[in-house]
Symmetry: C2
Subunit: 205 residues, 2 copies
């Protein structure tokens, strides 16, 4: 190399995408038929607070969840209605209720335990529907393309702090209109120190 | 290379050491003075079950933990007595009680919140002492030498399964007589799917 020459190296490097992590406390999704048993005929959920995913909301309505062992009161209902009733809770909650649900994706309710759902107008004996939510990332079609992701793919997400860790087995859910957020349950958030002031993860594809 | 020659490659490779992971439910360590207030003068704890670390045991004795917000009943006391009273709980428990303890190592009680400890003979108003336990590994001097570990060092521990993850920030505690075990709280165990049938981690130094 002679004096005066300039050598430029260009290194292609994709920085791992960041993601906001949201924490899902225990909650219930209700089928319309169950909603009407619990709250009355033709009942419609009312919006307490919109959630990050378009169209989804925390309702003003709450229910109690009852088993032979115990009861969890004032459990938030999320809207809108679904085709199936599904209860998502932490493993801590499940232990308290004497249940042993498995880690499942939404809607995969075969073989899941049930419980009694209590509303102001009636009770539903749910034969099944209780799950521990499989930790997941909501991803729009454009982000899926940008990061090379597809539905069902498993990625890792790194969280920093005194309880820092790398979540493995984070499942990708791609759908147009989805907003780029990761969802954990309260056990997972507490274990990783994720809270309002430490809610950014790094996605490792 | 001529016919008949044999080539042998020897690759030195240290397999990451495996470790049994134990789960610590909420519990109390009591100073003798507090033990006597709670259970009576000259009271001695009685052994329910020996723990993995030499000399340590779950006692038959339990206490209630009370705050302005709520109460946790039948919380196990661990023995033997310590010089200081310390309450270890999950963040889920702390939230239930309306407390916001930090992740701390045992004995590091400066600035920690307190609560009321209720025993059969009296109550202790603990000004401080509530912590979230810093996830840790007990390590004997010989394992410390074998794996090149020292007290205070941070390592990673990998856990497999549907909630698989890699714990970061796992602190090493070296002491002769310690038994090679990792300790998590219930939030951490629930978040990582660690239970009696999935309790082996891989230590990454």
């Amino acid at each position: 190399m002679t004096r005066g020459q300039v050598l430029i190296f260009v290194i292609m490097y994709n920085k791992p995408p960041k993601i906001i992590i949201e924490v899902s406390a225990r909650h219930a999704h209700l089928a319309q038929a169950d909603l009407e048993i619990l709250f009355g005929k033709d009942y419609q959920l009312t919006v307490l607070r919109k959630l990050s995913q378009r169209g989804e909301f925390a309702a003003n309505e709450v229910v109690d969840l009852k088993t032979a062992k115990s009861i969890l009161r004032h459990v938030r209902v999320l809207g809108p209605d679904r085709d199936y009733t599904q209860i998502e809770m932490s493993k801590t909650d499940a232990f308290y209720l004497g249940l042993a649900p498995l880690v499942k994706d939404s809607g995969d309710l075969a073989g899941t335990p049930g419980l009694t759902i209590v509303g102001p107008k009636g009770e539903v004996q749910a034969e099944h529907g209780v799950i521990l939510s499989h930790r997941h990332i909501h991803c729009s079609a454009s982000e899926a393309q940008k990061y090379g992701l597809k539905t069902g793919q498993l990625v890792k997400v790194k969280v920093l702090g005194k309880r820092g860790l790398v979540f493995d087995q984070v499942v990708i859910k791609v759908k147009d209109g989805y907003s780029w957020h990761m969802h954990l349950d309260t056990d997972e958030a507490n274990a990783s120190g994720v809270d309002d002031s430490n809610n950014v993860g790094e996605v490792i594809v």
